[in-house]
Subunit: 248 residues, 2 copies
DNA sequence: AACAACTAAACCTTTATAGGACTAGACCTA
DNA sequence: TAGGTCTAGTCCTATAAAGGTTTAGTTGTT
């Protein structure tokens, strides 16, 4: 029950906290530091407990909490794994398309260029103003019907590979492309919803009147370590947006 | 480790489930049945464990899960309590008023009458169409500046006391009134956000142009037992609405 | 090559125990 | 009356142990 002698891994953590909290903090740190990919399991309970110099029961409590919070995934008989971000709760899910079931999603990149980061983009990406960024202008569709206009900004030179490849090689989903071409995994994001009125350009693309209300979603996407990797502004028809939340 | 003999309270639960899951289900049922108000504590761990015929460790696991899910609140040295709904996550929180800090919230009831429930309201309240309901038309303000127009429907005769009392006796918050005058506690709610354009009436009240985009929030509020107690439609200026969500 | 049986490794369930920390109220003292 | 001290009651931390279930792979048989 003494807190004097403990594993070196816990040296960095707050000594006033109970053991399980300190172990939890350290495990979060190690997950963020990408110590285990999402395909290699964490060491088994017994090994981790021994490593930290704590009992298996205490370690199990920590792992159960982290699983409940969605950071880890546990499978009886198989092991404990880092959970990939699922984006189950993205606001984008709430654009309800009229069509319904049998439709397929797609995307079309309308423009790709290198820019000096405008103030707003620089602030979101956490880079110097006017530093070079890659800009994508993109349309997202259901069965060739556009429902979302997107502007996406990526810091350079980090994302240079995305600037170089042929446009038709870019898949309809960008995050797998970041992962395969740059080895960068998006771990979390912040989205902000607001309502605007359609300027002429967006109105034409979305097939509505200039001035019609649009929902704007700004997303700042980050890696597991917390570094900002992408900033995007997406516009969709407000009339097809419906967001539900349970409160208590 | 046998599952044959167990507390009578568990007889109703699924015998194939592990003990902790069955106890959890039963505790949820008892909380919903209002067995403990939010001021009287649940029985202590030791008593509950004995009642269910399980060990304290297993019971603690269940209580910890329920606390993590927000159904219970635990206080070392004091006891375990049913948690009152906080509505921390209500969409209303995201109407950002320009003013800022030192302002005070208020509300003004513009109209109160008894109606035959319109189809939409009847469906939301889960009552027969054209059955009698109480309707409130209300303005919510910051420092006398209106920012939200609300229509509220309540089932009769249940809410008759609210129909009878003088309007100036109704406080600025309704849920405490339901609680003190009817003994009805709101336990959860579902909110749905959509965007509309202001009709003339709302525009005048909110001090904007007809046709300006409005955020509409429909809320269905329920008691702990799941019965619908209130339906409301609220309209606010879209330009002052900003909603943030963390995703992973 | 296909299938079944076995086995090791991993997580899961349940109980038990010893001691610690926090809270509210009772009691005592000034 | 005001303020401290004590104490019973309650939840919290940490460990230990015995047995169960699930998975993936290995081995053996046909």
């Amino acid at each position: 029950m003494t807190r004097a002698s403990s594993s070196p891994a816990l040296a960095q953590t707050d000594q006033r906290l109970p053991l399980h909290a300190r172990v939890k903090d350290d495990l979060i740190r190690r997950v963020r530091a990408n110590e285990w990919g999402s395909t290699t399991p964490l060491p088994p309970e017994s090994a981790l407990a021994e490593e930290y110099g704590i009992s298996v029961g205490t370690l199990r409590r920590v792992l159960a909490e982290l699983a409940a919070e969605g950071l880890l995934e546990r499978h009886q008989g198989r092991g404990t794994y880092v959970r990939r971000a699922t984006f189950q709760h993205s606001l984008f899910r709430f654009f309800r398309m009229h069509g319904g079931t049998g439709q397929t999603p797609g995307s079309r990149i309308l423009a790709r260029n290198t820019q000096d980061a405008p103030a707003e983009v620089a602030k979101a990406l956490n880079v110097e103003e006017s530093s070079p960024v890659l800009h994508l202008h993109r349309l997202r569709l259901w069965d060739d019907t556009p429902f979302l206009v997107e502007d996406i900004w990526l810091p350079l030179p980090q994302f240079q590979p995305i600037a170089n490849i042929a446009l038709d090689e870019l898949g309809s989903l960008l995050y797998p492309e970041y992962e395969s071409r740059i080895g960068l995994i998006i771990g979390s994001a912040t989205e902000e919803l607001s309502v605007t009125q359609a300027p002429g350009e967006q109105a034409a693309l979305l097939n509505c009147q200039a001035g019609d209300p649009l929902v704007r979603i700004n997303r700042i996407a980050r890696t597991h370590t917390g570094d900002v990797a992408e900033y995007r502004e997406s516009y969709g028809l407000a009339s097809s947006f419906r967001y539900q939340v349970e409160i208590n």
